[in-house]
Assembly symmetry: C2
Homo-oligomer: 135 residues x 2
Amino acid sequence: MRTVKRRSMCPISSTLDILGDKWSLLIIRDLMFIGKKTYGEFLKSEESIATNILAERLSFLEREQIIEKTEFPDNKVKNLYRLTSKGLDLLPILLDMIVWGDKYFKTPAKIKKIAENIRNSRKEIMDKILKKFDS
Amino acid sequence: MRTVKRRSMCPISSTLDILGDKWSLLIIRDLMFIGKKTYGEFLKSEESIATNILAERLSFLEREQIIEKTEFPDNKVKNLYRLTSKGLDLLPILLDMIVWGDKYFKTPAKIKKIAENIRNSRKEIMDKILKKFDS
DNA sequence: CGTTTTTACTTTTAAAATGCAAGTAAAAAT
DNA sequence: ATTTTTACTTGCATTTTAAAAGTAAAAACG
């Protein structure tokens, strides 16, 4: 089981201790923006995460209380993952990454529009996305 | 030599293709907030990066044009690293990580104040930091 | 009701990345 | 002339990641 050792008291360092890898924030992206909720859906993402890595990351993020796992209604084999408030608080970081990534990489026109929208109306976009997760 | 393969056209994924590890953003933190500029200074950071990893990351970030290396004035053996505008554009991400990390980890009082300051006056703080790098 | 399919993993093994310690080479300081 | 500083590189062990195959229980199907 993966354990977390904080390398220092620095908040940036500690954030990276948990999220500093190539996959964790993609899972959170899928939950935050794409509406994915199950293991099988995460597995189908374009970036092709390996199944053992996905399993390890999901259980780690759950242990860190960034996501939580619940049962799917009327189905005992399917599980439903969702962001906790701690996970939802990562929204600003993801939005900044969209803006930065869009500026320095070639992206589809659709994404360019989203990035511009974030640059112009960050607060409104944040509220709109968070509203979807109101419980 | 480390090469970058984009896993997808997603800007978040592409950002992580470059910065999705435990060290790169700490080097950028040292440049952005701590005023470090040389190999030896980065090496002394509290998080104890290994010397070969530091060397690899510096050359990778240079190749990605996030930092640039110049000669130290009046010293042929010392090098001076600095952020490019592409590197400076990572400031929002780092600020968000300070806020998130501070919220969910125990941090020194000094950092708590900085995090609150970022939450209340994000724009002003950004301008202030960027002004230091005006060239 | 029996068989197939779906779902969510786990296991195995190979490859790559990271970490640690020691070594190097040129310039600067003494 | 010798020592120290600076910026790395090299070799090797350990850890992490990746790819592929396997498992087990529930659900769907005929």
